[in-house]
């Protein structure tokens, strides 16, 4: 029988790694992901998990060891956050280029400077072009489930790409929630051992990481892109199988009250719960508002976004990231979905909750009101920061 435990998000991902029978876990501690290597080392110390835990001297080496272990055919996982992911950046791209299905839990945390340990999505957003699948959890159950599914999706021979599971710093990483822990036997049936297509093998020597010229580099990149495209189907299949086996529904994009909605909010991660409350409140006042939560940012769910957003008057993108000098990073991607459409909604962008600033229901209601005013004023575009005390900033003109 499945067991229920009260767990922090970090710990739920450690349980996922244990249930997935991960064989090698190289890790380097960083707030707010430290509970992952702590819990893993505890599992190993008391014999609950038979895996090689490599106590690395940096995140760069942790991801490098992940690459070496995965290329040798092992199932591999690690965890990091923020500066740690930034330090890994170089090898994050290489893991994807080498087609290694490494799974990484990310406690989504703001990037320096100024240094800040709290939540936003800047760290993983900065890696969105790396060739890693990106999943984002809304609650702790999702961190465990998405991590388990990520192994199955990434290791599928139609994909063979690494994947990261984002969970909001502290809001999920450190907050206790009741989490359903599936039975080991059920997980084993869902997730059989990883079968690599190619590996470092003395009986069948191969060269990994060859030098590529202008004559073939584009073909390699195209192959990764096509694997990302194939992942769409694989994700849908795995989500469906997971629901059949474990009873919990996952979708690349999750709609809430969108059927007749004139205004649709788009969220990622834990702010979704707050936004859902705001939608309920606005609905009670007769406003036609809906909500879309993006679970998989890569591959980008353009098909589902188009499906759900095409009839809306206004799309409001709520972003815990900022592409400095432009606006939020997801906004132009959603806008691109409608770039060539005959009829398109107005799309407005809101930067919110950076560096762990709280997002409350009133903020979301305010966002709605600003968006409605902008619509009335027929504003073509808008990038608005919510909750910033602009009078405290010395602007150099």
């Amino acid at each position: 029988m499945a067991m229920k435990m009260v767990l922090r998000g970090n710990m739920a991902t450690a349980y996922a790694a244990k249930l997935a029978r991960v064989e090698v876990i190289p890790a380097y501690p960083i707030t707010p992901s430290t509970l992952f290597p702590e819990k893993i080392s505890e599992f190993v110390a008391n014999g609950e998990l038979k895996c090689q835990f490599i106590k690395c001297e940096s995140e760069h080496s942790a991801m490098s060891a992940c690459i070496g272990a995965s290329a040798t055919g092992a199932r591999v996982a690690t965890a990091t956050s923020s500066q740690g992911l930034a330090l890994m950046h170089e090898v994050v791209f290489i893991a994807a280029g080498l087609r290694l299905p490494i799974v990484m839990a990310i406690g989504n945390r703001a990037l320096s400077a100024p240094i800040n340990i709290w939540c936003d999505h800047q760290d993983t957003i900065a890696e969105r072009d790396s060739g890693w699948l990106q999943f984002y959890a809304e609650k702790n159950q999702e961190t465990l489930d998405l991590m388990l599914m990520a192994f199955k999706i990434c290791e599928d021979h139609r994909v063979l790409l690494p994947g990261m599971v984002g969970m909001d710093a502290f809001v999920l990483t450190h907050t206790m929630e009741c989490v359903d822990i599936p039975e080991q036997e059920e997980v084993d049936r869902f997730l059989p051992p990883y079968k690599p297509v190619y590996k470092l093998d003395v009986n069948n020597p191969m060269t990994f990481g060859a030098f590529s010229s202008p004559d073939n580099y584009m073909e390699f990149r195209y192959a990764v892109h096509m694997a990302m495209e194939s992942a769409v189907k694989v994700i849908d299949e795995v989500f469906e199988e997971f629901e059949k086996k474990f009873g919990r529904n996952y979708q690349r994009v999750v709609p809430f009250m969108v059927e007749d909605a004139e205004v649709i909010l788009v969220t990622i991660g834990s702010m979704t719960g707050t936004a859902r409350e705001a939608v309920r409140l606005l609905r009670s006042k007769g406003k036609k508002v809906g909500l879309l939560k993006i679970t998989t940012l890569r591959p980008f769910p353009k098909d589902l976004l188009k499906k759900y957003l095409k009839d809306a008057k206004v799309v409001v993108v709520l972003e815990r990231n900022i592409s400095l000098g432009f606006g939020g990073a997801v906004y132009p991607e959603i806008a691109a979905v409608f770039a060539n459409a005959a009829r398109r909604p107005k799309i407005y962008d809101f930067i919110i909750g950076l560096g762990g600033r709280d997002i409350v229901v009133e903020d979301i209601v305010k966002v709605y009101e600003i968006a409605m005013d902008a619509l009335k004023a027929k504003k073509a575009e808008m990038v608005e920061w919510i909750g910033v005390r602009k009078d405290e900033i010395e602007v150099i003109k």
Partner: protein, 294 residues
């Protein structure tokens, strides 16, 4: 060389390349049950141009600074699968990828005690990117980032004592070697691989392109480095400094270092500077004294 060639011909290295000689010697000593993890650099570029490869053993290149970490992962994966026995794992890096950008990953691999042999082929500069100085570049050498000039003697600091830094980690085995004394090098490779735990060999590999030396003189220069005491060949076993011994004594009397310097274009600017030649000779004498060499 009588060997089963595990590093095939047809690679694109320069004529007289010392590092490719080291690779052939290394693989001949290690044998086919070997997995190689290599850093970015000359040897990776010349040996793996897709769709060709010179490697007849499983091989992975990831990035510039992380061969030791990649090898740590390979070691862990084989252990996790119960397939570690009977296989060698060799991490390979040039001096740039080892002395400088890869030093942290190397230190981590050593202190964690991975069963990996790290081989640094040392040609004393960043040759792959066009002969820029590294912390392995010796005092006085001209490189593209340590050019001699009115206010410069060439490289202005002595070479970093990397093998000694490694020795401070107390690995299972650490040695210096030269392709010029290839039997000594191969004996050291076999010794390193026979021991459990981390080991390290620094092998000295002349670079005709970067050093501006005739390509047919690679082996001669690699021997001269030892015979002048410029390069000291030593080994230390089981992390025990009492086992430290010089494996190849220079002839008595030692040849003057000028003999080694004068055949290399990178030191040509020093030839009319007797005070600098004296200084380099003093540096060599001091190092030899530390190792009990007359």
């Amino acid at each position: 060389m009588n060997e089963e060639s595990l590093f095939a011909s047809g690679h694109t290295a320069c004529a007289g390349c010392g590092a490719t000689i080291a690779l052939r010697l290394l693989l001949a000593a290690a044998g086919k049950n070997t997995i190689v993890c290599q850093v970015t650099g000359c040897m990776e570029v010349v040996s793996t141009g897709y769709p060709n490869t010179a490697w007849k053993v499983p091989y992975i290149h990831v990035a510039f600074e992380n061969a030791a970490a990649v090898a740590s992962g390979v070691d862990a994966a084989l252990k996790a699968k119960g397939e570690r026995e009977g296989k060698n794992i060799i991490a390979l890096g040039g001096d740039g990828g080892t002395y400088d950008i890869g030093l942290q990953a190397l230190s981590g691999m050593l202190e964690r005690g991975h069963d990996v042999l790290y081989v640094c082929y040392d040609n004393e500069a960043y040759m792959n990117t066009g002969i820029q100085r590294s912390s392995a570049t010796p005092y006085g050498a001209s490189t593209t980032t340590s050019p001699p000039g009115k206010f410069s003697i060439g490289e202005d600091t002595p070479k970093k004592p990397l093998a000694e830094i490694v020795a401070a980690h107390r690995p299972s085995y650490v040695a210096t070697a030269s392709v010029g004394y290839y039997q000594d090098f191969q004996t050291k490779v076999k010794k390193a691989l026979s021991k459990k735990g981390p080991s390290f060999i620094l092998v000295y590999t002349p670079c005709p392109t970067g050093w501006r030396t005739p390509s047919e003189k690679t082996m001669e220069i690699a021997k001269l480095a030892v015979d002048t005491g410029y390069l000291i060949l030593w080994e230390m076993e089981n992390g025990d400094r009492n086992t430290l011994k010089v494996t190849k004594m220079p002839p008595k009397p030692r040849k003057p270092v000028e003999e080694y310097l004068k055949i290399q274009g990178r030191f040509r600017h020093l030839m009319n500077k007797p005070e600098e030649l004296k200084k380099i000779q003093e540096l060599v004498d001091a190092e030899c004294k530390r190792y009990g060499i007359e």
